[in-house]
Symmetry: C2
Subunit: 343 residues, 2 copies
């Protein structure tokens, strides 16, 4: 049996769209008046009764109107996505360096997104996969400290300062630099074996501790990307939606924003599931972050080439203006290209 005939879909859509606007349960009369179906409220009531039985809408209490269930939203969003699917495919880009500027650009994006949509926004810095060491440089910064600079693919730079017992001669430094670069360049974390390390330590002789420090730093540099920064903005927008702004819910949500760890796991999840369009929607309990069970989350994955990808997210009430959000995210991707893609 085909669960939903065309009329039911029209009615369901009308209910959802109306609810998106008002945030109030919507009654049969409203639909009868404001849809182009020309049906009486009684007929609508019958259909609504069916829709409820099928689980697409629900009634907060007897004698209230109906609101969409997660299942209902899901149907709505899926069909919306289909319409837009084609446009996004060609958005992929690549970009370069400017890590220092990256941070402020990302913050800016989050701010713009939040302001434009009136929802809360988050954005993660690109996460790098299969990072390879590109360049290592040791320098003596003062009599007892060595600075190790590690550049990894994508021109991400990490530093580490560590102590040494006594000043190294410049020949020693040169030798160590050469040793490290010839052995490590082009390797990813997985490719650096204990064998390689042991061999390098042997060659470094009395300075094997320096090698250890550098290996540590490399591991840290490559791994650290995994708990990379996430920037948020507009968290207070949730107060604009009564269904989210009671004390308990607001507190839960705000704390999700504060504990960036949770947002990161959301981003992570979203990277894993990535769809063709790069855009995903989590409705209510579908969200990987349990604190957001009363919200919807729309995520977009941006891919800058070279395995550098990050996540943008919009968090809002279930009655989010999905269409607008999806469009905004797409437009944004384009701007991202312009901003980050050239110099």
């Amino acid at each position: 049996m085909n669960e939903l005939d065309e009329r039911k879909i029209k009615i369901l859509t009308a209910i959802i769209e109306n609810y998106l606007e008002t945030g109030e349960p919507v009654g049969s009369r409203t639909i009868s008046k404001y849809s182009d179906l020309n049906l009486s409220s009684a007929t609508i009531r019958n259909e609504m009764s069916d829709l409820e039985e099928l689980g697409y809408i629900l009634q907060p209490h007897t004698s209230a109107g109906r609101i969409p269930s997660d299942k209902g939203y899901r149907l709505y969003v899926d069909s919306l996505m289909q319409q837009k699917e084609s446009e996004v495919a060609e958005l992929k880009t690549l970009m370069i360096e400017r890590q220092d500027k990256m941070e402020s650009v990302l913050k800016q994006i989050a701010r713009v997104l939040a302001a434009n949509t009136n929802y809360a926004a988050m954005i993660t810095a690109p996460q790098y996969h299969q990072n390879k060491v590109k360049f290592i440089q040791l320098s003596q910064v003062d009599s007892t400290h060595i600075l190790a600079v590690i550049v990894i693919e994508g021109n991400i730079v990490k530093n580490k300062i560590f102590s040494v017992a006594e000043r190294l001669t410049s020949e020693t430094l040169f030798r160590l630099n050469f040793l490290l670069n010839t052995n490590l360049n082009g390797l990813s974390l997985e490719q650096i074996t204990l064998g390689t390390i042991a061999q390098m330590k042997e060659q470094a002789g009395v300075h094997s501790d320096v090698v250890s420090h550098v290996i540590d730093a490399v591991a840290e540099a490559i791994r650290e990307d995994n708990d990379m920064e996430v920037y948020t903005s507009g968290a207070t927008n949730i107060f604009k939606y009564p269904e989210l702004s009671d004390q308990a819910r607001a507190s839960e949500l705000i704390s999700a924003f504060e504990e960036k760890q949770q947002l990161l796991s959301l981003a992570q999840k979203s990277l894993e599931n990535t769809s063709e369009t790069g855009i995903q929607v989590y409705i209510g309990n579908e969200s990987p972050v349990k604190n957001m069970k009363d919200c919807s989350v729309v995520t977009a994955t941006y891919d800058l080439g070279g395995g550098m990808q990050g996540t943008i997210g919009i968090i809002g009430p279930k009655r989010m203006d999905y269409e607008n959000v999806v469009d905004t995210l797409k437009t944004l991707m384009k701007q991202l290209d312009t901003l980050l893609g050239d110099k």
Copy 2:
């Protein structure tokens, strides 16, 4: 005329302490019963009437008890501070490096503070004054990109990657490194004159553009500290205090936490005003951040020597447990020493 006699002070203190506990307006009867003054509620009422006229307490409405005014809190806090003043003087310390660890330590501190006090906490990374360049290193990371690493006093490391038209020979790099280090080391931003720069460019010949980039990077490195990071935790604790958790106030407060800029200006202010104890209290409208007009803010300045100082802040309701917060901050300072001071 001496505004307050001893009895009035006792009564005021009793009112404040009672209000700190309960968060409810306190009436004359309560004071009469729970203070050691052995006065009837009627007498207390007379005194309270005086105290109100003097502006130390106020009545939310007729037939409610009294609550402390900002002026009242101020008196209470000031006398509290006097008692503790002596202890803190010797807390100053110095510390070194480990910039990479710094971030996680700071976050950790914010979290601990928020959890211990049940208020919201913030902490800024140390801000450096009169920074001097310690060491500069240029390296060729690939055929068209140069990495400039700048180490400034306090072992803070900044990087910048920029493009060059063609690969530089290693002699050229060596020469430029030597040029930059001999000319810039030991100088602060103010000490780098246009004359110095012109001279260096001349010596650099065709590579004068590299010098420009490095100068840019140095300026950025030193200045960037001024909009340094601030970490927060426990923002949601404000929901524990009914007088702060109505929608309007909560939203205002949370947005102050999100807009780190505001917190930074708070930290800045607190650095400027620094008192002998390093601890300051802003009550209500005294706060430099207007969004916090319904809160109190306790800030502590930590000084790691070498002009490196930062700010720790606790943000909570006006009926904050000042005594406990001040103590906690002091204990924390000690732990900070242990954590950052060695290694």
